[in-house]
Assembly symmetry: C2
Homo-oligomer: 299 residues x 2
Amino acid sequence: MKNLTLKQLRYFEALSRHGHFGRAAEVCSISQPALSVQIKELEQGLGTPLFERGPRHVRLTAFGEDWALRVREILRAVDDLGDMARAAQDGLSGRLRLGVIPTIAPYLLPGLIAHLDRTHAELDLHVRETMTPRLIEELARGQIDAAIVALPLNEPGFEEVPLFDEPLMLVRPETEKDRPVPTPEGLRDLRLLLLEEGHCFRDQALSFCQFGAGATRDGLDGTSLSTLVQMVGSGIGVTLIPQMAVPVETRSAPVCVGQFAEPQPRRTVGMIWRKTNPLRGQLRQVADIVLEVGRSLPR
Amino acid sequence: MKNLTLKQLRYFEALSRHGHFGRAAEVCSISQPALSVQIKELEQGLGTPLFERGPRHVRLTAFGEDWALRVREILRAVDDLGDMARAAQDGLSGRLRLGVIPTIAPYLLPGLIAHLDRTHAELDLHVRETMTPRLIEELARGQIDAAIVALPLNEPGFEEVPLFDEPLMLVRPETEKDRPVPTPEGLRDLRLLLLEEGHCFRDQALSFCQFGAGATRDGLDGTSLSTLVQMVGSGIGVTLIPQMAVPVETRSAPVCVGQFAEPQPRRTVGMIWRKTNPLRGQLRQVADIVLEVGRSLPR
DNA sequence: GTTTTTCATAACTTCAAATTATGACAATGA
DNA sequence: TCATTGTCATAATTTGAAGTTATGAAAAAC
C-alpha cells in the first residue's frame, strides 16, 4: 500500500456516501470508468474488497465501513492543512462557510452580511441555512466552517461559544391585546402553533410549556416563524417566537406581542466549530462580530 | 489547495527532517530537482513559504513548523490505513517491525525468532535494536510497529503491556564467590561497572544503589552487558545484569553470580505500541508469544 | 579567484490517470 | 419472452503531472 493517493481516498469517500459509481464519479468530476479503475486499484492494493457490488446497489463491506471512518478523518485533516495558511495570515479573508439555523438566519444575517461587507470586504462568506443536526454533520465533515445555533449542544469535538441570549415572546391575535399574558400552564389550554419537527426552537418552546413526551398537543405545525405569525394573525391560535424575530415578523399581521413573567423562556444564541479547525482564530473574530450585530438588533 | 498530493506531503516531511534538498530527495528515491519542484508547488498552493532557504541550511518557517505537526499525523494515519487490511484478516502475517532494547535483544530474540519461525512462518519480522527513547520516537513516527522495553514508561498515546519481571543479579569476579552478597549501600563502596548513558538499564541499576543525582560514582561505563561481564571477569569491578542475561554472559568469563536479598532489584519487561495502531490485535498475539518465550528462558 | 556546495530552472521523457467507446449482466417492463 | 434500461467493468487511446538529466546561479570555503 505504498502508492496510495489522496485522490483515491476522495473517490472512495464519495463512493461510500453515494453507493453509486456514476453519481460518485460525477461528484468527483471524473468519468465513471476512471472511478471504477481507481477503486479497483485501491482494493487490489489492500488485498481486500471495500465494496460489495450488488446488482442494484454498491455497499461498503464491513471492513470498508471501518476504513471509511479513518479515511474521513484523514480527508478532514488534509482539508484543514489548506486552511492553516489562511489562518496564519490572520485577519478575515478568504472563503468562510457559515451555517445558520432557520430561526436565526432571517433576522441576524442581513445585519451580519452588511457589517462584514463594510468591515471585511475580503471575506467571501457562504451561508447555509438548515437545522441543527444537519449543521453538526456538515461541520464534522468539513463542509462548513462554523455554525450559528442555539446552545448548549454538548457535541464532543466541538467548541461552543455562547454569544447572547434573548427571551421568547408570545404572539397572539391583536384582539387579545388587553388580556393578561398566560402562564406556561395556561398556554397548554390555548391552541399553540409550532414549527414542524426537527427545529430546535420547537423543542425549546415545548419545554417551556412543559409538554411531556406523551402529552398530546392540540396544535398545528408551520414551516417557518413567518408562517406561524400569519396563522396567528388569522386567529387560529398563538405562538412563541424569539425576540429577534419580533420586528420582522409582526409587522405584516394583526397580532400583538406579549412578554412572559419571570422566569421568562429564553434561548442562547452562539457559534460552534470543530475544536481542531485551523480557522478558529478567525472564527473567534467572526463570533465577536456576530455578537455585536446581535446586540444591535432592534428590539 | 485542491490538488495537494500525499507524495508532496511525504516529500515535505522528509525535507523538514533532513533540512537538505539533496538528502531528502535521496530518502524519497527521487532526484533533487523533482523534490524542489514539488516543494515549490506546495508553497505556491498555500501562498506561504514553508521553508526558509539559507545559504547553508534549509529550515522550516514558523508556519512550516505548525504545518509539519499536522502533516506527520496525517502521514501516520495514512500508513495505518494500509495496516488495517492486514489487521482485518487476523492471524499473524505480513511485515512486523519490532524494536527491542539492547539489554533484552540478545537474550530474548533467538528464542522469539525460532518460535515465530516455527509457528508463524508467514510473519516477516524486522528487528531494530536501539535504546528506549529512540524506539519511542520511531513508534510515534510509524517506523516500527511495536517495541519490547522495560516498563513502565507512561508515554501518552501508547499502550503498555507488562509481560514478566525478573531480578537483577550481581556479577562479581569468581574469586569473591564465597563472600556474602552486599546490600545496596555496600554496593556503593565497590567499583560498579555500568552501561553508558542512555540505557534504561543503567538507570534501573543506579536507582537500586540509590545514587543521588549529585553523587559521584567511581565506575567505568561499558557499551554492552557482555563487555561489562568481561571487565568483571578481569577483576576490574562488579556489575548488575538482568537474570535473562546470566546464562549467555557468564559462561565465558571467570565470574560468579549472586542474588540480592529481598527486596531484590527487578525490572519489568513488556511491549508497547501506539494505541491507534490498527495492528494492535496482532500485537497482542505477539505479546503472548513473547511472554511464553520469556518464561521459558533458561535460569 | 577558483572550487565546492546547494538549490533552482529548463528541456525532455515517462507513466499514471484521465477520456471515450464498448461489453457484460441482471433487473424491469411490455 | 425479449427488448430495454441501468449499472459497473474492460479496452484502447490521450493527456498531463511528475520524474529525469543537464545546466545555471549564488553563496561559502579554500
